[in-house]
Symmetry: C2
Subunit: 225 residues, 2 copies
Amino acid sequence: MDGVKIIEIKKSVFESNDKDADALRQELKGKGVFLLNLMSSPGSGKTSTLIRTINLIKDKLRLAVMEADIDSDVDAIKIKEATGVESIQLHTGGMCHLDAEMTRQGLDGLNLKNLDLAILENVGNLVCPAEFDTGSCKNAMILSVPEGDDKPLKYPLMFSICDLVLINKIDVLPYFDFDLERCRRNILNRNPKAQIIPISAKTGEGVDAFAQWLLDEVKNWNTRQ
Amino acid sequence: MDGVKIIEIKKSVFESNDKDADALRQELKGKGVFLLNLMSSPGSGKTSTLIRTINLIKDKLRLAVMEADIDSDVDAIKIKEATGVESIQLHTGGMCHLDAEMTRQGLDGLNLKNLDLAILENVGNLVCPAEFDTGSCKNAMILSVPEGDDKPLKYPLMFSICDLVLINKIDVLPYFDFDLERCRRNILNRNPKAQIIPISAKTGEGVDAFAQWLLDEVKNWNTRQ
C-alpha cells in the first residue's frame, strides 16, 4: 500500500428510510406476500435470470415482477412476453435506486391479494441501491463473470447486505480471468452468511437452485411468525 | 408496448453543480491541464484500459490519474505499479459519483504545474456520474461487450453526455450476443456526435486509437483560445 495518496471526500447525503422499509415489510407479512429485491450492475443478466427462474416456479406460486429502470420499458415487456406473468415498469425518472416509498408506489400497482411473491428488479447499479432498504424480505444480487472476481472488494456494501449472491454467466468462465473460488472467498469475507449460487441464465445451469431458494424463502416467510 | 403498466416515481434530488464545474474548467484552461472524466459500469475495464493507454502516451506528455472508489485502494496501486505514473486514490465514502467540488479536492492532491493531462476514473456506475459535471474537459465512457448492446437504450443520459464511447472486451465478441453495428446505432441515436472506438484492453486492439484521441484532445485544449 506504499506510495499511494488517499484523499477522503466523504459526504453524507443519504437519508434513512429504514422506518418506512420496516413498516412496508410488516404490511407484506400481514398480507402473506414475499418481496425480493434483486440488484446488480447493468448488464449482469437480471432480466434473463428472472425469465429462466419464473418459468420454473410460475406454476407453483402466484407472482408478479416490478422492473425499475430510468426510462425504458424493454424489461417489463420482455418478462411479460417470455413468462406470461404480470410485469410492471417503474420509471425512476433519473433516480439511481429505489427506496421504500418508491417500492410501495410500485406495489400499489399490483394486486397483492393475488400474490405470494413480488420481485423487484432494481436499477442496474452496484452502489446506490445498497444504501436504501426497499422494505424487501430478502436481498439478492447478481455478479457476472465478465465483471471480475474482485468486485466484492470494490463494492463492499452491496455484497454485505445481500442474503444471496448469484454468480451469472458461468458459461463464459473459460474466456475470462475469473476464479470462482477466489470470488467466493471475497464474497464471504464481506458477508460470511451470504449464500452463493453460480448460474448461467443462458444455458440454465444452476437456475433450478435459485428457483428452489425462492420457493423455500416464500414458504418460510408465510409460516414463520 | 401493449399491456405493460408504467408508474412514474420521479424525484428531484440532484443539485446543480454546473457553476462549480465551469469555474474548475476555466482554471484548468488557465493552467494548461486537460481533465478527462472516464466512466463505466463496474467491471467494464476502466483500469486495465488506462494501463494500456498510459503506457502508450506517458513518454509524450505529463499525466497523472485519480482513481475514485468507494473504499478500496487497489486501482491506484495497480495504475502506479503498471505504468509508473502518479496515481492517487479518492475515497468517496459511499458516494456513487463525483461532483465538481469532489474532483477539485482530488486535483488539489496533484501537482498541476507539472501536468498536461489528469485522468479521473469515476466510480463504477452508469447512472449517477452522468448527472454531475465534474469540470472535466471531455467525458469518455466504456461499455463492455458482456454488458450488452442495448445499454444505450437503458442508460440514455450516460451515453448522451459522453464525447467518446469505448467499446471494450471485443476479444470476447464471439461468445456473446452483441452486435457491434447495432450497438453503434443505439449509441448514435442517443448521441449523434459521439465518437466510438472498439477496443480490447486485454489484447491491446484499438487502444492506439484511444491513445491518439487523447493526445489530440490535449493538444487542442492547449492551443484553442
